[in-house]
Amino acid sequence: MFKRLSLPEASAQQTVNVYFDGRQVTAQDGDTIAAALLSAGIDACRTTPVSGSPRGPYCMMGVCFECLIEVNDIPNVQGCQVLVKEGMQIRSQNGARRLG
């Protein structure tokens, strides 16, 4: 389980509510989606196109593409590269994306 570093300024940050597969997740303003999912205990956010095995955020810096998710109906978004916004609808990216 991941824990936040208890920096003084972090505790002063505003909270933001997003939804992961319909479940409400409370994040902090300034979190990336990947950070918000990990801090909520969600460590798998997609399944692979080839074997269907579960994957979750790993490198947190945009290179490994393990944290792919659907954000507001846009598929294959890198969760570690997008900041949370109030009301954001996030869904697991299961297998290869659909087109259209």
Binding site: V50, R98, L99
Partner: protein, 372 residues
């Protein structure tokens, strides 16, 4: 010094297919490969196993391509059994898209001539927009129709190359990577292939070094006036199945990526990419499949085709240096099966496949054209 029956110079698709074919037949073969500094056309190609439209000027090229397309399933099967490598070969037929009635008419006329010239062996069908949409539901409204041929298909060219290399090793071949062949010469009954710090002795030598053949061929009395021709390719993120048969410039890979591209650029030895060219390829792809507008392109690259002056292959045995051969073409994927199963036996002493008789270098010499 390595001694062998055959030395094949060039570890790309042409050289590997020939070396595999020779090794499988029980010969002692060394395959010399320059390394990753080489131009590597075999690492940059599109992956079509393609017949339709080829050979309009020399119909035997169509027959040679059909022969290879027919042999492809057995090559793919035997590589899988021998090495475990799957080439992802599929032959669902392929389409060439047309964007106007005029284009459809010209296409039909050309392919009809090709069908007649091959005695009906090459066959095809013209599809109107509705028929095409039954095959490709996502096809764009501006596509008028297409020519379809059952002869066409596609494969993963990187797996093919890996499979040929693994198969070659499995059959006892010796792979010698790492440096460029500088000199080839005959010494008595054998050939000496020289490169930095190494000499390979072989009874026969096959030059399959792509653009490198330009400098090697004259050393054994052959002529390979090859020209680099750049093609650029874009590849998208992986997607669920969308395009279940290949077109001349779009195909979906076994992993789900869409490959786009077929530029033909005369830019010397520049392997780079240029945004206007890539942009044009992407626009054409979106015109064919409008749903692609929302996909991400994850990688682009340029690669140099190995082109003869007329675009047809070059296969020749040296008269002045018996035992030396040159083989080059720009369709290393399509022709891989013919190279392994028909060209290699010729190099080993069988009779020349009749389809390739026209593909010697004499056709590039100055010729008098007699008006009909």
């Amino acid at each position: 010094m390595t001694t062998c029956d055959f030395a094949v110079v060039g570890g790309g698709l042409v050289g590997s297919a020939i070396a595999y074919g020779l090794a499988k037949a029980g010969h002692r073969v060394s395959l010399l490969d320059e390394g990753d500094v080489a131009y590597r056309a075999s690492r940059g190609n599109f992956g079509l196993v393609w017949v339709q439209g080829k050979g309009l000027e020399i119909p035997s090229y169509s027959q040679w391509s059909m022969s290879s397309a027919s042999l492809w399933p057995s090559l793919s099967d035997e590589l899988r059994e021998l090495t475990g490598v799957t080439t992802q070969h599929q032959a669902p037929g392929g389409v060439h898209l047309c964007y106007s009635r005029k284009e459809m008419e010209l296409r039909q006329r050309d392919l009809t001539l090709l069908a007649e010239a091959t005695g009906g062996q090459f066959d095809f069908a013209m599809l109107d927009h509705e028929q095409l949409r039954e095959m490709i539901p996502e096809i764009g409204e501006s596509v008028t129709g297409a020519s379809w041929s059952r002869w066409d298909g596609h494969a993963n060219p990187l797996y093919l190359l890996r499979g040929l290399h693994a198969g070659f090793l499995r059959c006892g071949g010796t792979f010698l990577p790492g440096s460029k062949v500088q000199r080839v010469h005959q010494n008595g009954a054998s050939f000496v292939i020289e490169r930095e710090g190494e000499r390979v002795l072989a009874e026969r030598v096959v030059l399959a070094a792509g653009l490198g053949n330009r400098h090697l061929a004259p050393q054994v009395g052959l002529h390979a006036p090859l020209i680099p021709n750049r093609g650029e390719i874009l590849v998208t993120e992986r997607m669920r199945p969308l395009l279940n048969l290949p077109t001349t410039y779009l195909r979906q890979t076994g992993e789900g990526s869409i490959l786009m591209g077929d530029s033909h650029e005369d830019v010397g030895f520049d392997e780079g990419t240029e945004t206007p060219v890539l942009s044009n390829i992407a626009q054409r792809a979106v015109r064919a499949l409008p749903a692609l507008a929302n996909t991400r392109v994850v990688r682009t690259w340029g690669a140099l085709r190995v082109m003869t002056p007329d675009g047809y292959p070059l296969y020749q045995a040296s008269l002045s240096h018996p035992g030396a051969f040159v083989a080059c073409c720009h369709s290393g994927v399509t022709l891989a099966a013919a190279h392994a199963k028909r060209l290699a036996p010729w190099i080993a002493g069988d009779s020349l496949p009749s389809e390739i008789a026209p593909f010697t270098a004499e056709r590039f010499d100055v010729q008098t054209v007699i008006p009909a």
